[in-house]
């Protein structure tokens, strides 16, 4: 029986952790993630889970300890945000390179400088090429559901890769929403017993983790590693199908909202997709054929599927909650552009940067973008390719 509650995103994910009950969890505080691990630590203190916590002295050590614990042969999780994720960067690559199924919620927050504790996606975008699978979540329910599914995806025998579950700092982490919790038993059965692969603690069959590989083989090792990612979308879909059976909630590689018959479209990640859908409904009522695509599996990026879902549109705006220094486009824009570049017929693309450092994304902003897309679809003309929206004059 599902239980309906009103909780914050962090509380929901802490409960997912409680239900999954990892063997080892490393923790280091950073806003807005802190509350998640605090709540989970309370479950540990009260004996609700048997998890061993490692209360490390930095995020670098949090990820290092996770690598050790996962190699040792058990289920491992941690969580972070912003600077914490940046400090882990070196070890993120080692975790994926060693094929260790670590699960890590990333509560998205802007990067310094200037220091800012509020939401944007520059933290996770900085880690997008680290070899971690990334699942993005619109609301607390999706953050909870993705966290549970993340363990299954990470630990799948064909995959054995670490997974980040991204959700928006404060907007989701600290806002109270209606959540449907699954039963503890149902979650336990869904994730199942952890199956170790080459555990370090099997002292009778010693294994070496982390060898030096030089020019003779490094290239080949990387190619072999990249092959693994091809299997990820299929596994994500299989796990989603099973998850739907226990929850009634369906997930794909991305969500299409009123996209099939649309002429113009918006591509946007995480919480802002909710606001955008409301505005899309308003414009649909006015007869404007607008739709939305919200990526869920952001790494590996399902280029072909996304391209096919967008190619029939006349104009698309990719909204990025992260910019790139050096005058580049937003990271999501680049992936969308890549997914469409080889189609003969394809939409005109524009890129808008919104919501940095927690700047509100308002319905007006979605409206403004839709108006602009209507114009582009009509005239075929783009005024500015990339621009910030919601900037104070």
């Amino acid at each position: 029986m599902t239980k309906i509650v009103a909780v914050t995103g962090n509380e929901a994910v802490a409960n997912a952790f409680r239900q999954v009950e990892p063997d080892v969890c490393a923790a280091y505080p950073i806003t807005p993630q802190t509350e998640l691990m605090q709540r989970f630590a309370a479950f540990v203190s009260n004996g609700q889970v048997k998890t061993e916590m490692i209360l490390v002295e930095s995020e670098h050590s949090a990820m290092s300890a996770c690598v050790g614990a996962a190699a040792a042969g058990g289920r491992v999780a941690t969580a972070t945000s912003s600077q914490g994720l940046a400090l882990m960067w070196e070890i993120l690559f080692i975790a994926s390179g060693l094929r260790l199924p670590i699960v890590m919620p990333v509560v998205n927050r802007a990067l310094s400088a200037p220091i800012n504790i509020h939401c944007d996606h520059s933290d996770a975008m900085g880690a997008r090429d680290s070899g971690w699978i990334q699942l993005w979540s619109e609301n607390a329910q999706e953050a909870y559901d993705n966290t549970i599914q993340a363990f299954r995806i990470a630990e799948h025998m064909d995959i054995r890769l670490p997974v980040m579950v991204c959700y928006d700092g404060f907007i989701i982490s600290h806002s109270i929403e209606r959540i449907e919790y699954l039963d503890d038993e149902v979650v336990k059965n869904f994730v199942g017993e952890y199956k170790p692969l080459y555990p370090l603690l099997d002292v009778d069959n010693p294994k070496s983790y982390g060898p030096l590989i030089l020019t003779d083989l490094y290239h080949e090792v990387r190619k072999a590693h990249s092959e693994v990612y091809k299997k990820v979308p299929q596994v994500v879909l299989e796990v989603a199908k099973e998850f739907e059976k226990i929850s009634g909630r369906g997930y794909g590689l991305f969500e299409s909202y009123r996209l099939e018959d649309a002429e113009i479209g918006i591509v946007i990640l995480n919480s802002a997709a909710g606001t955008t859908k409301d505005v899309i409904d308003e414009y649909r009522d006015k007869g404007v054929k607008v739709g939305l695509l919200k990526p869920r599996l952001f790494r590996p990026f399902p280029y072909e599927e996304v391209g096919n879902a967008l190619k029939h549109l006349k104009a698309v705006c990719v909204l990025d909650r992260a910019d790139a220094f050096g005058g580049s486009f937003g990271p999501l824009y680049l992936d969308i552009a890549a997914s469409l570049c080889n189609f003969k017929e394809k939409p005109i693309l524009i890129n808008r940067i919104y919501g940095l450092g927690g700047r509100d994304y308002m319905p007006e902003h979605a409206g403004q973008v839709i108006e602009e897309l209507i114009e582009i679809a009509k005239t075929g003309k783009v005024k500015v390719l990339k621009e910030y929206i919601g900037v104070r004059e």
Binding site: D23, V24, I54, V56, S61, S64, V67, V203, S208, Y209
Partner: protein, 318 residues
């Protein structure tokens, strides 16, 4: 039954760090590792290595010199990595999934211990993980080509503090990491040297039998970096002990004890003159520098003697 620490019994034991590694001929690091693993021969062990000479030379592609489970994560995180392994061990043991008594040993060079890895080491010790952390101290970043580290002795010539006409090698003091580790209040801290192998192995064994965090700093000559002959690693480490440059002592539950006292304290020149990295100190006009080194060594040695005295069992006064 515990294996007695004598050559006859130890020679019957299987080496768990094997031949075929690619460390330089005459490098003391493999000798030190073999001694540690032999001392631990009665236990299954899991080893974590930091990036450095020992690591890059001991496990290449599908060839490994380690006959024990081994993990290399990065340069600065051997202690944090092993924290994770050890914590998983406790978790699985509590769940009844493991019943063996496994020991956990981190091995890192001085760069990965005194400097970049110090935070993760200090954190792991403070969290009281049940592990032995061994630093093989060769006094510089050898793997990247002999750059100065926090462990580099004063006035040593390295590639980042080369002895020049203005600066006579590393200007600063050597960080006394063993004392810093003792200040963590952990149950066991020691300094050891491969020249005094029974002392070294006793210390390793003692450490492994103690619950909680342990730290042993092992003097480990590097002929490439020190510009010495390839067959004098043991000779040099003996000279380091006999000149009191590298005193052999332990701090057990806060009590300091010198484990080997040289019969005759040799002048520091005996240790310095055998090494190319101190060659510039023997040029005319540099006598003062050697005096300075001797003063430092004397001061540290006296301090250590006093520290030991402080904890010595009190004599009954008549």
């Amino acid at each position: 039954m515990t294996t007695p620490l004598n050559l006859k019994e130890l020679s019957k034991k299987e080496l768990r760090f094997t031949a075929g590694h690619r460390l330089c001929a005459g490098c003391a690091a493999p000798t030190v590792v073999k001694m540690i693993l032999l001392a631990a021969c009665d236990y299954p062990v899991v080893v974590a290595s930091a990036t450095g000479c020992l690591e890059v030379s001991s496990c290449i592609s599908t060839y490994t010199a380690w006959k024990v489970p081994w993990i290399h994560n990065a340069f600065e995180n051997a202690a944090a990595t092993l924290s994770g392994v050890e914590t998983m061990y406790r978790a699985l043991k509590k769940q009844g999934k493991i019943d063996k008594d496994i020991k956990f040993i981190a091995i890192s060079g001085d760069g990965g211990t005194y400097d970049i890895g110090f935070q993760s080491l200090s954190g792991a010790m403070e969290r009281w993980h049940n592990m032995l952390y061994v630093c093989y101290d060769n006094g510089a970043y050898m793997n990247t080509g002999i750059q100065r580290s926090g462990a580099t002795p004063t006035f040593a010539d390295t590639t980042t503090c080369p002895a020049g006409s203005v600066i006579p090698g590393k200007p600063q003091h050597r960080k006394d990491l063993t004392r810093i580790m003792a200040a963590h209040g952990i149950p066991y801290v020691a300094q050891a040297s491969p020249s005094h192998w029974p002392d070294l192995m006793k210390k390793v064994r003692k450490a492994l039998e103690i619950e909680g965090p342990k730290f042993i700093n092992v003097f480990t000559p590097c002929n490439r970096g020190w510009r010495t002959r390839t067959d004098d690693a043991i000779l040099l480490s003996r000279l380091a002990v006999e000149t009191c440059f590298w005193p052999l002592y332990e701090v057990e539950n806060g009590v300091t004890r010198i484990t080997v006292k040289p019969k005759e304290k040799k002048p520091i020149t005996e240790f310095l003159k055998a090494q190319g990295r101190f060659k510039h100190l023997f040029e005319p006009g540099k006598e003062k520098l050697i005096e300075q080194i001797q003063e430092m060594v004397d001061k540290n040695w006296e301090r250590l003697l006093k520290e030991e005295e402080m904890f010595a069992p009190k004599q009954e006064t008549q």
